[in-house]
Symmetry: D2
Subunit: 405 residues, 4 copies
């Protein structure tokens, strides 16, 4: 008892973006029972026996650098992409407005190209990286205290950063801490500052983007010192999900993949961020890695992304798989995937919050390898085959809690 | 030792068709090391530790109703469909001619529409079903004796039969045996006569087609009496393979499949058989069954097949999956699969022969549930998810032999 | 002047269906300047110099057998297919209600399978075919008189009929008239009764469906006697439009089309009608005819249609064109077309009304061959190439009026 | 008469590439009547009344910088891409060897990245641009004299050059001539040197590539001074051909194209050249220009190209057209085009040679605007609609010769 009454926090970095605001709306609509649970993995019967927190127990907050509100953001998803029924937005408007009070200004670095269209900016000038981390952890502590939360799960759903050139960052946390005292806030990728702030405040941190986050030795070291839960990176929602479901089929049939070409077109804010060639490279890196470990050899892979505003949130991926069969026969699989990018991601963010809170409540700590099925480039994972990842999730979730992961 | 010297028989019903002749060529080319093992599942490293018979130990024979030879059949695959390198055909011509001596006339029923294009027919007039079964088992015994084979695996790779209306057949073998004494050869589907003949001669029987085969209670009863190995039905080579790999992805992501439409076009002899609406129904039945058990509900499925001669062996399937995600968003996956139908099937036939001979040699008998991953409509199987089937195969194959399955 | 003040009638057979109600809404929204003119061919600059009637001069009425209203019908297009902005519906609700007063009960034959889902039926029992025609012409005269219309254009946008077996109908109008006096209303296809009723009332008649309409010698004879305007049949809105634009490319490049396979899936009322195999045949006939005249030879064409309710108005067509190039190279074009069937058709209905009223006003009469670009199976047309048809329209429309076509 | 006995020359710059060697093989095979005329536009019945030179009257020669032969090149098309029947190659081997004697070393600039895979290079060191032009014209004169040719048509089928930065080149020919006397051979794009050489030798010049060729004012001025025939640029063989056939459909139906995304993957030498980002830009420029003139507005177009070696000559283009219809409905057309790039181009090269020789023989001179249908970016053409271009060709070809074009 007691436990089922406890409330947990879902704090999203980039809360005002399409994924963040759709997840916020989802929490509100689920707690009022206004929508089906379609798309929510943790609502599958196979998880029914676990004591996962219901939507009514999830309090939403976050950081956001743009001067847009959760409500405006879901409204523009409706008007631009014709997704999200307006009656759901209408019925949850009070909740979205209430959540908005827990959206704090985000950290913005000097010279960062802000992904926005005319929107104002809300950010804070911070003298050092250490000050930025402190500010973030203070925001999280305030949120937890104000809402009397049992635990806060921080999930990064902001736009993709350019690839980090963080060679300056020392590999040990003690040195990193000193380094951050004397360096400007831009000495580390913003996503890493958020990870540090979360760990500092004893929160869990999950990275749903391809950004660096805690993928620096010193930061992972710090996470282990703080004994928190963490996992990343880059939510697996579309083309890569399909790849990880299909590539094992070729492998187990001994069909040789000669080339696998993927072309992605999308028109949302994520697409806009990716239209910066630097940023695009971050994304392509996580999209390309999965075939070799699954197939056992390296086929010729080409993945490209184009920003096409007219498509709005409707990401379309075309994949061409050129493969060879018995007696050298050249065969082909093509697919096109047309999905609302934000609505594929949003329920997974809620799933991750629920599963992480569940781990926390049963005393597990450390890297959550069992969440690999949610990520394109799972931390520390050698396993990229989707169904093996899924099986791992099922087994872990139903396994009695260990004291330490 | 000893065992590794033993030879086994691969007897194909419909040996002269595209699948049969390509499998025969494959056995020859593999044993002479003329081709890569691409497409051959049992050549994957994960099976390397098992004592599976090499191609050099496989002797090929079969039944065929058309007056075409193995050599002519692979030649027409080359000339019509531009598959199979001519130099492979040339180098294996002596072997194909030698195998041809073990191709016996098939059983043909009165009034059966023969799938052929001007080819003559070789079949035998048989007074009763029992006589037909006797004839088949005699052919198999002769083959085994002549080549001193440790075991013969019979695989049905002939054209699809029309759906059987076998209500006349009694459900117990004892009664069926008497019934067959007094009934014409057409009292049972031909595929069932072959199954009975195989069991009579202590051979294994696998049904790679959607035809009835041993899917009659009395015949399965007989198989168990004879203590043989058996499994079916309908080889899973293309669209259904993809379905069984992809549908679990929708299920585990809680994405609701509203409709799944599949349209198949092909121009080979199998397509010609399927242009008969009766026969087409047999095929569509096995193509439709897998989604409901995987998804847990019944989406709107429509599968259609068109015979388009110009495509020859290049079967193309277009699938449209209309699914719903979070907040009711309607999304779509489309794929087109362009594969050489016969060259997808042929190596699996060799795989099945090897895996069955292996089961036989280690003393297992009965229905080979672990071969489900090779079939669209696996006998007795509740499991249609491809990767679960694959896992089952791996585990079973590496498990110490049981005395009885 | 004067002419520009005159109002014309657009009378739709099947006004309450998706196409009819969307066209009605379109007329209302255009006349209030609430929508863009996208999709409206006659709004292109190239027609700006012609005195075509504006939407504000078009009065809408029609026949409908189902007890559904125009408003309900456009609302269900919105709720089921997510097309038509709700604010456009809201702003035009008064007009749709006013138009509803001019929707009269349709003619329904004994035993006709009504395409409906629980909707009530409004039809009239009529003793003879002649009485049905009389009733129709009376409805049209009443409409014209009530609204003081300069001319009424009747357009059939109802569901496809089964193929007519009208061998009973005599080939001369005089005999047909006597035949209709003594025959039940089902002696002729309903679409033909409407054509006769329209001609009787001196209205123009256009057949936007694959149904028979005036494709009977006696009816065309009658049309010429009455000196009216007429044209058909089967609106060219999607897959066939693409075919007629693409096939000439293959022809002029001397690329040989070996096969052209088309598979159409749709979930609207038209799809439901087409799920009746008899009706489907009518549709497939008009879809198949165009390739041979364009290419000069008969490729292997296969066109199929499936009714898939979940797709609602979003018809999807997949086409596979297998063609041969220089030195015998086998190449392929595939396309998928995903369009809202009703919203592709509706503006063309308005275009046809405008272009027909224009012909009428400048004194032309007879078969409107220049409208061939709007039809899958244009009356009397040897020309199926889309751009030639389009050129013909442009030239004719800008040519000084002839006294007789 | 007399005329029909005259022979003409087809001189290809880049003769040893895939297009050049396939065209050479085509000329040989056509003259021996070994192949169908599929893919050859000028073999259509509509041109039968014109006195176009038959293949037997065409003598082939060319420049080539790589040390590969015509025979090796067609053989590798067969072995790598499974196109071109080996028996055709076998039967034409003597002709290909004879043609090889007329393949001269090409011009190669200092520092040019040669498109090759280990192949040796044959080129000549030339002190000035003027010397290079002289050398080219001498090669052409020698070819014409040796074979007693009535006329020589030079067609550039070599790999795409990087975009030229030819600002140094003066805009008047007189100045250009002096400039070339004192500048190195790399002062002008190589394709321009070939154009100048052709004009100098009174040959026609057609540019089948996106390279500069005669697209410099001074060179076009020179062409007019020399009173020769010329036209360019970039052969329209696949995706752009489809665009120019399809875009007018959207325009004439008043459907608004919001975005048109094209992704091209290919694995031949042209693809290899295009894998250089600089070169790719040349190609993309000519691929992008056609939509705006056809549609009358500028949709969002994105065209990308990837070099994927496993695809060899089988270029695949995926296009996604996102368009808007009536009442704002968002619709989509997708297509994939899978064609053997070289075998789509080769017959058009022969067509251009025949049509140019025909123009020459009937006394026409100047820019051949009527050949626009063969080019992605036709010189001086405002017309990009494919069927209008085709109509122009037909009309011009059947029009009595003018003294000057």
């Amino acid at each position: 008892m007691g436990n089922t009454e406890q409330r947990i926090g879902l704090w999203m970095v980039g809360a005002g973006g399409a994924v963040g605001s759709a997840a916020a709306l989802g929490v509100a609509a689920l707690s009022k029972d206004r929508i089906e649970k379609t798309g929510l993995v943790t609502a599958l019967p196979v998880f029914a026996d676990l004591d996962l927190p219901g939507a009514g127990r999830i309090v939403v907050g976050g950081h956001e650098v743009r001067a847009t509100t959760l409500l405006e953001s879901v409204q523009s998803l409706h008007s631009e992409s014709a997704v999200i029924p307006p009656e759901v937005i209408a019925s949850c408007t009070p909740e979205l407005k209430r959540m908005q009070r827990d959206v704090a200004p985000g950290i913005m670095l000097r010279g960062e190209k802000l992904v926005r269209a005319g929107a104002g900016v809300q950010s804070r000038s911070l003298p050092t990286a250490a000050a930025a981390v402190k500010r973030i952890s203070n925001d999280l502590r305030t949120f937890r205290r104000n809402h009397r939360l049992a635990h806060v799960v921080v999930i990064n759903v902001s736009s993709t950063e350019p690839p980090a050139s963080s060679q300056a960052a020392p590999p040990e946390y003690a040195k990193l801490a000193r380094f951050m005292q004397r360096s400007g806030a831009d000495a580390l990728p913003v996503s890493s500052l958020y990870a540090l702030g979360a760990f500092e405040a004893d929160c869990s941190y999950l990275n749903f983007t391809p950004s660096t986050g805690m993928r620096l030795p010193a930061i992972e070291q710090f996470a282990r010192q703080r004994d928190v839960l963490f996992m990343g990176r880059d939510g697996k929602t579309g083309e890569t999900l399909l790849k990880s479901a299909l590539a094992p089929m070729f492998a187990t049939r001994h069909l040789i993949v000669r080339s696998w070409v993927g072309h992605n077109v999308l028109g949302n804010r994520d697409g806009l961020a990716l239209s910066d060639p630097e940023v695009k490279r971050s994304k392509l890196d996580t999209k390309q890695i999965i075939l070799e470990p699954i197939l056992g050899y390296r086929p010729d892979t080409r993945t490209s992304i184009e920003y096409v505003p007219s498509l709005a949130d409707w990401k379309t991926a075309w994949d061409l798989v050129d493969f060879e069969g018995f007696l050298g026969a050249k065969m082909r699989l093509q697919f096109t995937w047309t999905g609302s990018d934000s609505l594929l991601a949003a329920p997974l963010v809620i799933d991750l919050a629920r599963l992480t809170a569940f781990e926390y409540s049963r005393g597990n700590r450390g890297r959550m390898d069992h969440l690999a099925c949610f990520f394109k480039d799972p931390d520390g994972a050698a396993e990229h085959r989707y169904y093996q990842q899924w099986q791992h999730l099922l087994e872990h979730a139903h396994r009695p809690a260990t004291t330490r992961a």
